[in-house]
């Protein structure tokens, strides 16, 4: 199987879709000549031309609004929001327009729009360029929310996002871009709502998303040396959520830890916790532990930034708490 970086896998999905389908096109800030601030769309201007790889003004509201209009007219636009922090500037279009049209029109309109964005700490981007806001969008009926953690998943899920008839917020993580992984030679679309067991285990289930998936896998390795068998589950799509797989896993292991880079309070871990406690109540042998960032605007200072966001060690500590014996 070929190996791609996470970044190349995103580009591969976009390029394949654009080669096959004239309805697919890109819009975003600096995505054409510059190839995007994270280099994801590098080289695509040359292959697909300025009509289909379109630079936009610095207005997220306009970018998303234009995307919605094009989508409702039958196109399958993929727009890029440079940092997910800037999604806040397009909230009206995302929450009140994109998410609502299909239902409010009684199904006469559909919005097959993909909003790609990225973020994450780890390179001192500061408080306004490093947030993880995925849980905000899980609260909005009418949207879909995807957050892949591997090259294979990001490619297969992006394909499904492009061909989904609903607006999809597609989260990528800055620190995952350079990570390599095997991908099938042929692009295999990955359906939404299907979790992936990244590692099987018997003592505790760690439900991790985004960058915390590789961190959880590392924690699982370390836990194994302590005789603790950790199962790592990546839901991959937060909305829809594969509750069945999550509940089945916790029913097997009897313990659960959630892990994301977003701040813990009000984070997606809270939703996961609610799902688990309800679906696996009689199977829980320990309180569910949540791992996330400390509740503060993220510091620029590297030491403080690293102190604030969670790492494998934090997952390991939480795992140990769930199996603790007094």
């Amino acid at each position: 199987m070929p190996e791609l970086t996470y970044r190349e896998a995103v580009r591969d999905a976009l390029s394949r879709a654009m080669r096959e389908d004239d309805d697919v096109f890109l819009m975003g800030e600096d995505i054409a000549e510059m190839g995007g601030s994270m280099g994801v769309t590098q080289g695509m201007l040359d292959e697909f031309g300025a009509e289909r790889v379109r630079n936009t003004p610095i207005s997220e509201m306009a970018i998303v609004g234009t995307g919605i209009g094009a989508a409702m007219q039958g196109m399958r636009p993929v727009v890029e929001i440079m940092y997910q922090d800037f999604l806040t500037l397009s909230m009206e279009q995302l929450v009140n327009q994109a998410a609502k049209h299909r239902t409010m029109s009684g199904g006469q309109l559909k919005v097959p729009l993909t909003i790609r964005t990225q973020g994450g700490a780890g390179w001192s981007p500061g408080a306004q360029h490093a947030q993880q806001l995925e849980s905000w969008f899980v609260h909005v009926p009418g949207l879909k929310v995807v957050f892949p953690s591997t090259p294979e998943d990001v490619r297969g899920l992006l394909w499904s996002a492009i061909y989904d008839d609903n607006p999809v917020i597609f989260f990528e993580h800055r620190l995952l871009y350079p990570l390599k992984g095997e991908v099938p030679a042929e692009l295999a679309p990955i359906p939404f709502g299907k979790a992936r067991i990244m590692r099987e285990g018997t003592d505790v289930t760690v439900i991790a998303i985004g960058r915390m998936v590789p961190e959880a896998l590392q924690a699982a390795e370390e836990a194994e040396t302590l005789g603790i068998s950790v199962e790592v589950l990546d839901p991959r799509t937060l909305l829809p959520l594969d509750e069945e797989a999550i509940i089945a896993s916790v029913q097997k292991t009897n313990r659960c830890v959630t892990a994301h880079e977003a701040v813990t309070r009000g984070g997606f871990g809270a939703e996961l916790t609610a799902v688990v406690q309800h679906g696996a109540f009689d199977y829980l042998d320990a309180p569910i532990e949540r791992v996330g960032a400390k509740f503060a605007p993220l510091a620029f200072a590297p030491a403080m930034e690293q102190w604030a966001v969670p790492h494998a060690a934090d997952v390991l500590e939480a795992v140990k708490r769930t199996v603790a014996r007094a």
């Binding site: 009897n254 109540f281 009689d282 199977y283 829980l284 042998d285 320990a286 309180p287 708490r321 603790a324 014996r325 007094a326």
Partner: protein, 439 residues
């Protein structure tokens, strides 16, 4: 200064006991050495005496199972304050495992009222309430410290257990309050229930299949639970059995003569007593069999304390005849009769059951020809005796009829090898066939 009454450890290995009833009420005067309450341990039910003079100020655990060392009551001077902080803080666990609640005077403070009014049914998911509950408890304790004999001990009731532990307990018919928790803050976790399950027998499911007729459901007594736990443990030991038949002609003759010489009121010696005598003699000769297997070591004994399996209305019990090797058959018969009598009346003391080095189980009186007994840990061997039966045997080329008794020795192979067991059993056989050699 008030004296806390703590649940005593009445014998080796005792971890908890069940308070059956109090023989004194709150406010009653008690004297040192006066019986205070009845305690059911895993071996016996006995009266426990007061260790101090004074007034029984407060009963903290009215009834139910309590761990050794927990404070169950307070004795002090009339009107003396109960040192409530200590009692309440230390003994939450004890209260929680107890099934009953002592009647408590009405609490004085609002906080206390709030805490006391909390629903206490088992299974209440109000985990989050615990912090608040604890504050309430402390407030109650503080009030109690200020007021004479206030509500210190009541409350409790809620058991801290994980949902999984509760479900397992429900499915296995285990009272969650009987399980002791080893999780964080004493929480009962699944492993605790499973461990409890492995030492306690499963209770018949509450449901009743249609068309099966009446089902009698018998709650397990402490004795029954102990039998189940110990025998389950014993079943896991790698054991082997050896069987011989002893010609009982001379032993029976000896018994006849002993019976003929009995003085007024003396106990008739039985075949069992003869067997005890020769076994004790053989044990001293073969210390390899007269041993305990502790897991860390093998302890071989030079004295033979022989346990006798006795069927009682509440189940099997094994009182011990101490120094059996030093006693005459007549003394052994008297000791046996006395112990069996008390065993059947439920009057055995803990000390009657401790320190056995070997056990004999005799089902001969039921006509059982031969059987295999289950080890009585930590003892490394147990002897099963069958009935003495007239049997045709070959002697010097002739078939003759002789009274034979079958003897089956069960050995814990971790402590005893086959040859050791065989030598012991050969000695028992020889001594039964020539009882004079045991003298």
């Amino acid at each position: 200064m008030a004296t806390e009454v703590k649940l005593p450890r009445l014998g080796q290995g005792m971890e908890s006991g069940t308070i059956v009833k109090w023989l004194k009420g709150e406010g009653d005067a008690v004297k040192k050495r006066e019986p205070l309450y009845e305690l059911d341990t895993d071996k016996v039910t006995q009266e426990v005496e007061a260790e101090a003079d004074g007034v029984l100020l407060k009963i903290l655990v009215d009834s139910g199972e309590v761990e050794v060392g927990k404070t169950i009551a307070v004795i002090g001077k009339p009107g003396e304050n109960v040192a409530a902080e200590d009692v309440a803080a230390e003994d939450v666990a004890a209260e929680e495992t107890a099934s009953g609640n002592g009647a408590a005077p009405a609490p004085e403070s609002e906080e206390a009222t709030e805490a006391e009014d909390r629903p206490e049914e088992e299974g209440s998911p109000a985990e989050a309430m615990d912090g608040e509950r604890e504050r309430g408890r402390q407030a109650a304790a503080a009030t109690a410290a200020a007021e004479p004999v206030a509500a210190a001990g009541d409350g409790g009731g809620r058991v801290k257990a994980s949902p999984l532990a509760r479900r397992l307990a429900r499915e296995k018919g285990i009272q969650i309050a009987e399980v002791s928790g080893t999780g964080p803050e004493g929480r009962i976790v699944a492993e605790d229930v499973e461990r409890f399950q492995s030492v306690a027998p499963a209770i018949a499911p509450a449901g009743r299949a249609a068309g099966e007729g009446e089902v009698e459901e018998i709650a397990l007594t402490s004795t029954r639970k102990t039998i189940a736990r110990r025998l389950t443990e014993a079943w896991q030991a790698p054991v082997f059995q050896l069987t011989v038949s002893a010609d009982m002609t001379r032993a029976l003759e000896l018994r006849e003569r002993l019976v003929g010489r009995l003085a007024e009121g003396e106990t008739k010696p039985t075949v069992s007593d003869l067997l005890t005598k020769v076994s004790a003699a053989a044990l001293v000769l073969h210390p390899a069999v007269n041993a305990h297997f502790t897991g860390e070591s093998i302890r071989r004994f030079s004295v033979a304390h022989v346990g006798i399996a006795v069927a009682t209305p509440s189940g099997l019990i094994v009182p011990v005849i101490r120094d059996a090797h030093r006693q005459t058959i007549q003394e052994l018969a008297a000791a046996r009769a006395e112990l069996v009598g008390r065993a059947r009346d439920g009057k055995l003391q803990r000390a009657d059951l401790d320190d056995g080095t070997f056990t004999i189980s005799n089902l001969g009186m039921y006509g059982i020809e031969q059987f295999v007994a289950v080890l009585n840990p930590p003892q490394a061997a147990i002897l099963a005796a069958g009935a003495t039966i007239e049997t045709p045997v070959a002697r010097g080329g002739e078939v003759v009829v002789r009274p034979l008794m079958s003897l089956t020795l069960t050995c814990d192979h971790r402590a005893i090898d086959g040859a050791d067991g065989a030598e012991f059993l050969r000695s028992v056989k020889e001594l039964l066939e020539e009882p004079a050699l045991a003298l």
